[in-house]
Subunit: 296 residues, 2 copies
């Protein structure tokens, strides 16, 4: 695969190592980050360049990657004055790795198209470890021809890159992922809580049942830490609230019924309200085991 | 392992092949079944004996296995007149493979102890296929010395046989298993329903997300059949209602909170009421996709 001129906008826990993998793969990378110090640190570490605006980073690039927080953060670094789109050349490709709404994906595709620029929504799963090890799963929405050009570049940090349909399909697939996790983790939390209340040895129970019909990635990777009441790592409740909120909004439009997902969304809001917004999503167990603090 | 004289009581879809594996392993097997024709069929197929009462089957046996439906079915074939206990010799072992309450396990252990007989509660997971292929997971409660004697015999149809604690611990572990499955399958149903409403290609979505944090045995083994609206196989809703009902009863005693499990239990009752009692547990999807019939 030939070396490309690319930009990466957003150097959070995901973006920072992802941009690093692009540089290590031989691409010429310019980064932009709201906090300038982090961009400078990245540029020094990977011998790349740090730009002062998204437009400047995007100038002359073949592919521009975005990985920021919320829909409006994406709009700011892509669509507003000095946003990436204003600096991109015709024929270039914009790839948004942010987990965002499907509506935003369609909005960005329309804006990109007007300038002759290709667009892909491409949320990822695999977490910080997946980003650092370059083994993310990338769920892509957009045109097939655009996908075929960008996928070899995305490969630098992915285990699998899959096109799932037109613009927005990557985001919709990520929503399916989060919806499945919500009910699954609540079930796991209730199971582990029951095991503890019943006086069973939780580690042995998890070992025995994780091989069968109750088994899941979450049970294998979170069962033991839940039993130890450890939640200061992993995928934060704050982000899950955002993702499930978007899923519920989309469900209200497409007609899907999500009774348990909506309940678990409220449970995550309860954890957040009690100060657990940075805890891992497996902290649903805390709502079963810990008493709320009395105001008296 | 030396050949034993054993009895197997209850030749349902699980018990029939389990008893067969015991015969194939070289044990001398006598069976009892409420419907006599099935016992005769089994005896002919495996060159074993069919008894006319549980007591007769159990006479002189080293180990007596039970695998029937509900708590009261177990009481009938074990504790009542002509029940297994009345025929068993001192020093023998009674193994109950029925998924039953933890209270029943304690009750049976007490009754067995009075006669100098060992007892193990030993519910299984792995389903009909696991029984037929002899690869069940067996969750055992009881005394360690009793476990050590019976485990080599149970090995005939098991992939794993694990002692989890005193009498009742096998049942409690099976409850943890079913609690985890309830929330997990509801989450999976909502995710698949959302994918369909969003117009995504469900098969591709399942392939992509099943490798990551949303992945589970249920997604891998039921995702595709759910997308095809196929539920005429697998683990029946009728049995899941029984298992979750016992789990909720136990939770009311041990203090565990099971908010979503109790909701999913009601959902299964709704499916049963609409005639889906024999459907697989993944049929929770039907409550999201199918409209209830109008009485008008």
């Amino acid at each position: 695969m030939s070396s490309k001129k690319v930009a990466f906008i957003g150097l959070g826990v995901m973006g920072y190592p992802m941009a690093g993998h692009l540089a290590n793969a031989g691409h010429t990378v310019t980064v932009f980050n709201r906090t300038k110090a982090k961009a400078n640190k990245w540029a020094k570490q990977y011998k790349g360049k740090a730009a002062t605006t998204p437009a400047q980073a995007a100038k002359g690039c073949d592919v521009v990657f975005v990985c920021v927080g919320m829909d409006d953060d994406v709009r700011e670094v892509v669509l507003e004055k000095n946003g990436a789109l204003s600096g991109m050349k015709k024929g270039a490709i914009l790839v948004d790795h942010t987990t965002a709404s499907a509506d935003l994906a369609r909005e960005l595709e329309t804006a990109a198209k007007k300038k002759g620029i290709g667009f892909l929504d491409a949320p990822v799963s695999g977490g910080q470890a997946g980003a650092e090890n370059g083994v993310l799963t990338v769920m892509v929405g957009g045109a097939k021809s655009t996908f075929n050009k960008a996928a070899p570049v995305i490969d630098a940090y992915a285990r699998a890159v899959t096109l799932l349909g037109p613009a927005g399909s990557g985001q919709l697939t990520k929503m399916v992922n989060q919806i499945c996790i919500a009910g699954l983790v609540q079930g796991l939390a209730e199971g582990i809580h029951f095991a503890q209340q019943a006086g069973l040895d939780g580690d042995t129970v998890v070992d025995v049942i994780s091989k069968g019909a109750a088994g899941s990635w979450q049970m294998e990777n979170r069962g033991k830490t839940m039993l130890k009441d450890q939640f200061n790592f992993g995928f934060a409740v704050d982000w899950m609230i955002k993702d499930l909120g978007m899923s519920l909004d989309e469900a209200n439009r497409n007609g899907a019924l999500l009774p348990i997902t909506s309940l678990v969304h409220q449970k995550y809001r309860e954890i957040q309200k009690r100060g657990g917004g940075r805890w891992d999503t497996s902290s649903l167990l805390r709502l079963l085991t810990k008493q709320p603090k009395s105001k008296k």
